[in-house]
Point group: C3
Chain length 264, copies 3
């Protein structure tokens, strides 16, 4: 059952603590959008404190956008504590497919932590699934495959929820597979929308144990915000600004009217 | 005597260099707001250069928001040079109370550098004072104590100016204690206002040797800006943007009309 | 021959991948502006992956704003691969003249990589040329010298294109020297315009082999954007926002009408 607005309300009333270990490019965007949704973001990556921070958190969001060896070790420590605490762990495999270092480190994380949600664009997810592909830095490259089968297959194989973002997003836990059609072209024209949506995914997973539905709810909400922002945006700067403004416009009627996703 | 506008003018005419060793989340906000006030921000944390950078600076701002062991060592080196040069050192104990690593490193800094201004929200300051408390990541947790007595007592004990930020801010050097009532609720709804106010505190301390008054002046100015921003803000994105726009609206009559603080 | 608009079109149609190893203060601004111009930014500094990332990139932008020893080593590895691949390398010597660490590391980069474009403000370039000067953190200090001769001489000596930014920018490859008069005062009042212009310089160098003309084209475009932004800006926050909005206003007639540079 879909209860997107109820989940959004639950985020606001609980204000979950979302521990991020993320990149230094979009980190402020991630903190800002998490806060706008009513959750409490904390960014902490020192290996001496990530276990303790993950222990007081309600979800852990890992993003390898500007990874290095030290940060990967911190991710493992935080991730293991998250597993022990049984809080959800979102892994955004930003840039996988661009370098073998990213590919290897992403696989290391997948084998050493129980990941809840594995998220990326199509060439990132294809690369982790073993397809021959080339991610263009952190932007999607072209991939020839059936992305619904890709999501379903990988979700089953890894026992995670797979989220593939793009013009249409795919969310699959292997059994249930959703297509989210909200969103707008401008999202791909600015930096940070992928990372921000991972923060929102982590936020909703903190309050909803059906993680596929949590992901769908997060994507629908964030992408409705983007559609509202695009309507008023006169350029890319204003569009980004309005992403933060328009979160407060999400109410029950707006969500019910604008939500656009299907279970297939 | 309060001469807030004169101090603001002095910042503009001197354009002090404010050396920051700070977190990677709000670092751009800190640089932007410092620049908007007419000072010159520089962010430098490599241990090989922080002594030289602190040596040409007019104030040093330390913020442990995304601390790690290397950065703490750089803070110590920069801090010692600042002490030698007799320039003010502001320490924002961002996130203290959330992990023992933060607690320990904050105490290490306090014992190895002569800090001028110790700044945090109520649960951070309570944690450093030895109260049992729990900071929620970098957001304030609940603390049951008389915060005025907390500020006064800690200021006397550590021989620093203590600044506790919140709906009302407390500034105390142990003898003089001020309550600053400027500010608005939206400040707590976005990321970075605490860090930015530390930058402004450092900026005013660079040009005013009565550090308690410098802190009050900084908080009053920044929080008037926030009040002006809130009046025109339609959402959290716009509110943050207008924080930078409205600095230029600070003139003598606006400050005199809107300033709201008392010496108790 | 000047064909600024054609170059801008070429950026959009090719969408070059611009690999940045840069500072953590303005990194998001650099990513955003690169994306606004239609190129694809990637920020990656781990020594394990920079060779591979530079290998798929169309230009490399190095900025030492928040340098440390590890990042300098990564810059060398990336730079050597860029040289091997024969893609342009832009070096922004942010803050040189402020500390001997910066001076030394900038010289190390110049001696170990073949730099295509060396870029800085007047006190940074004067410092690297061996003049006695003092950079104020990352802001320009005063220098008494003929800056045109400084640019020409250094370009010849180092066999690079030298770009000196300021109220008027100088671009010289030793033979051809240009003065770019576009831009506006507000550019110096906010943080990040220098770093962003380095990203745009790298972007244009990725698609134009006459690197001096590529630099001129980049500066003219970015500074026209700044002039358009200033016309509508009510404060420094709005000005920065509109830098991103106004990139889409760059068309052939706007560029031809507003471009303001001379070959001397």
């Amino acid at each position: 059952m879909e209860k997107i607005f109820e989940r959004l309300q639950k985020v606001k009333s609980i204000a979950p603590l979302i521990h991020h270990i993320t990149n230094y490019v979009t980190v402020r965007d991630c903190a800002d959008i998490t806060k706008c949704f009513g959750a409490s973001p904390v960014m902490a990556d020192a290996i001496e404190e990530v276990q303790e921070m993950a222990n007081i958190a309600n979800a852990l969001v890992l993003n390898i956008g500007t990874l290095n060896s030290n940060i990967i070790e911190s991710m493992k420590v935080a991730g293991k504590q998250a597993n022990k605490k049984q809080i959800p762990v979102v892994l955004d495999i930003c840039g996988v497919g661009a370098t073998s270092f990213r590919n290897n480190k992403a696989k290391e994380l997948l084998s050493s932590i129980k990941i809840t949600v594995l998220k990326g664009n199509v060439s990132e997810i294809a690369a982790i699934a073993g397809f021959e592909t080339q991610t263009k830095g952190v932007d999607a490259g072209s991939v020839e495959t059936n992305i619904i089968e890709l999501a379903k297959g990988l979700a089953t194989k890894l026992n995670v929820v797979v989220v593939i973002t793009g013009a249409e997003d795919i969310v699959s836990n292997g059994k249930d597979t959703y297509i989210v059609k909200n969103g707008c072209a401008k999202m791909g024209n600015i930096v940070g929308t992928g990372c921000m949506s991972s923060s929102i995914v982590g936020t909703f997973c903190a309050i909803e144990k059906d993680y596929a539905l949590a992901c769908v709810s997060a994507l629908v909400c964030f992408e409705i915000v983007a559609e509202l922002a695009q309507k008023e945006a006169i350029g890319l700067g204003t569009f980004k600004l309005k992403l933060f403004d328009k979160v407060s416009s999400l109410n029950e009627s707006v969500i019910n009217e604008m939500k656009n996703f299907t279970l297939i």
